[in-house]
Amino acid sequence: MARIELKGISKSFGAQRALRDLDLVVEDGEFFVLLGRTGAGKTTTLRVIAGLEKPDTGSVAIGNRDVGGWTAAERDVALVLQQYSLYPRLTVRGNLEFPLRSRVRNFSEEEIAARVQKAAQTLQITHLLDRKVERLSGGEMQRVSIGRAIVRQPSVFLMDEPLSALDAKLRESLRVELKKLHSDLGATFLFVTHDQVEAMSMGDKIGVLQQGRLVQVGTPADIYERPLNTFVARSVGSPPMNLIDGQLSGGMAEIGACRLPVRAAAGAGQAVTFGVRPENVVLESGAPGEARIFDIEDQGVIKVLSMDMGETRLHVTVPAGTHVARDEVVRFGWKPERVLTFDPQTGVNLALA
């Protein structure tokens, strides 16, 4: 059992508060992704769980046991980092065996060989076992460093941006592999990233971190469709959700001179920030909205339009076959059931408040 529970964790580095009263629960066997920008506290959270950093306040429990006084080695967690930090002089096999040869563990040679073999099979690096690490590609090195974590058979894997240094094609395939590895091992995964695509595509749950605080925890669908506030709303999805200031009046969004239907409570002229994702805006002749095309990005499968509606710039994704020109004036509507409303002051999602 490896449920992770953080309660009231705060941590400062000098005057800088990295974590503020952080509560976090990762259930046993869950793939949990912490999503945040640089400096949000993602890595510090990982290091606190790993025992590499001591929190100023709060408690850390792994498998329902308080591990606050335990050393990193005693916590039975494996850490995979963006930098591979393999031993360059050793072969792949040597690197995989290394953590098992530690004196405190006392594994037999048969046990070591069996574990290395199994890890290599899982990661499909059996053919590389006798190769020197320095002769591997980036993706292979990252597999070896994951392998070095697996051989110890820990119950918790902590991963700090392990895919960020790899090229796009490799990242795509390792995303799928990591998910498969997670379901094969049944271990608890806590994965840290700034990349919303990684968070959305891999996580059973996503936790969105902002300035040392956990803003929202939910499934990818929760985070994408029911964000608690505008910060969460804009932290997933590309291009990000459009936020448009206007008034909510009699079931209509009033934005400048145009009126668009919404599903939110009727409203009587209160100021509201409307949130709509680019794929939920629709170009249609005769639709109530009007905007001028500022830019067109052809991404092959879709086109991303930037268009100006008065002072507001909107992003819209349309099918690749759509023909529009720069500076053309177009009419648009949106899918009323997909439009969110936020408090313009606090940014809170009014439907969830």
Partner: protein, 363 residues
């Protein structure tokens, strides 16, 4: 105004040949993006045009005049780098005006030129600031302003927005494109980011191993890749590529993926492919079709992975010995569920299994 022509350009660094016979014509007013991985030769090509790098052989001409032996300063070309390299002790105004110091211009003319370029870039309010008080995006705007103020014949940019965060990059892309349209200057832009290339370019030049792989408009590179490298470099997720055997004749053929899994296609779609050759099928995720019930041309399978991305989902299915990724609507199918998979033969690409070259229909 500048038409740039590269003829048989070769470049060696010691024994390493980084450019192997590069031939390219960039039309006046065109926005060309050179796309490739690090080490493919794209930056070397750009630096050769600028005169920051000599070439081992071949000619470079600008508006018909050979310039390969001219110094960078004599080519009338401006260059923008990823690192902004502004003068920290000068204001924004002084930074932008700097290239004009050697030009015979009156004080008034100089000021007019700086203000005009600042207006185009939307940085008029920053003219009195020092670079240290600017955001990353504004610094790069100033760097572009400094490059443009002389009205150079061509503007060369080397990953100019690669160091900015994702949101700012998106915004700067649109601005750079608008600026290009407003100024109509010949622009050559280097990047490793295929989305940047797709969204900015009139034409994309895909480079790999010091060779041009394909030169074409974004939709052409996306829809008619010349070879496997281009096919898999442009597009996200990556185009599915799988070895296939083509069985049957002109009337109706079957694409066989091994282990008895085959998808029937009308013979017309594969009639141009020579028999007895190793062939690879390339098909983009949006051309892999999934449905919930059997149908002609569809094969039963099970989903092995689902990536929910919010606006759409990427679903993996097994087909014989291969895994295909499909792009579907959100919530279409769950992991481990039974589905039927088919292919849109109009959007199927075939490549020579040995050379990787596209096997095109002669039409």
């Amino acid at each position: 105004m500048a038409r740039i022509e590269l003829r048989s350009i070769q470049k060696f660094f010691g024994a390493v040949q980084v450019l192997k016979d590069v031939n390219l014509t960039i039309e006046d007013g065109e926005f060309v993006v050179m796309l490739g991985q690090s080490g493919c030769g794209k930056t070397t090509t750009l630096r050769a045009i600028a005169g920051l790098e000599t070439v081992s052989s071949g000619t470079i001409s600008i508006d018909g005049r050979e310039v390969q032996d001219l110094r960078a300063a004599d080519r009338d070309i401006a260059f923008v780098f990823q690192s902004f390299s502004l003068y920290p002790h000068m204001t924004v105004y002084e930074n932008i005006a700097f290239p004009l110091r050697a030009v015979g211009m009156s004080q008034d003319q100089r000021e007019a030129a700086v203000r005009e370029v600042a207006k185009v870039l939307g940085i008029e309010r920053l003219l009195n600031r020092k670079p240290s008080a600017l955001s990353g995006g504004d610094m790069q705007r100033v760097a572009i302003g400094r490059a443009l103020v002389r009205r150079p014949k061509a503007l060369l940019m080397d990953e100019p927005i690669g160091a900015l965060d994702a949101k700012l990059r998106e915004q700067m892309r649109a601005e750079i494109k608008r600026l290009h349209i407003a100024r109509n200057s010949t622009s050559v832009y280097v990047t490793h980011d295929q989305i940047e290339a797709m969204s900015l370019a009139d034409r994309i030049v895909v480079m790999h191993g010091g060779l041009l792989q394909q030169v074409g408009a974004p939709e052409e590179v996306y829809n008619r890749p010349a070879n496997l490298f281009v096919a898999q470099f442009v597009g996200s997720p990556v185009m599915n590529v799988s070895g296939v055997a083509i069985e049957g004749g002109a009337g109706a053929a079957v694409l066989s993926f091994g282990q008895g899994a085959g998808i029937p296609v009308a013979g017309g779609h594969v009639g141009h492919i020579p028999g007895g050759k190793a062939v690879k099928l390339g098909i983009r995720p949006e051309a892999v079709l999934l449905r919930h019930e059997p149908g002609e041309g569809f094969v039963e399978t099970t989903t092995t992975n689902v990536e929910p991305l919010g606006s759409h989902e990427i679903v993996d299915v097994r087909l014989g010995e291969t895994t295909l990724r499909a792009r579907v609507e959100p919530g279409f199918v769950a992991d481990g569920q039974r589905v039927w998979v088919g292919l849109d033969p109009q959007r199927a690409h075939f490549f020579d299994g040995e050379t990787g070259l596209a096997l095109r229909r002669t039409a």
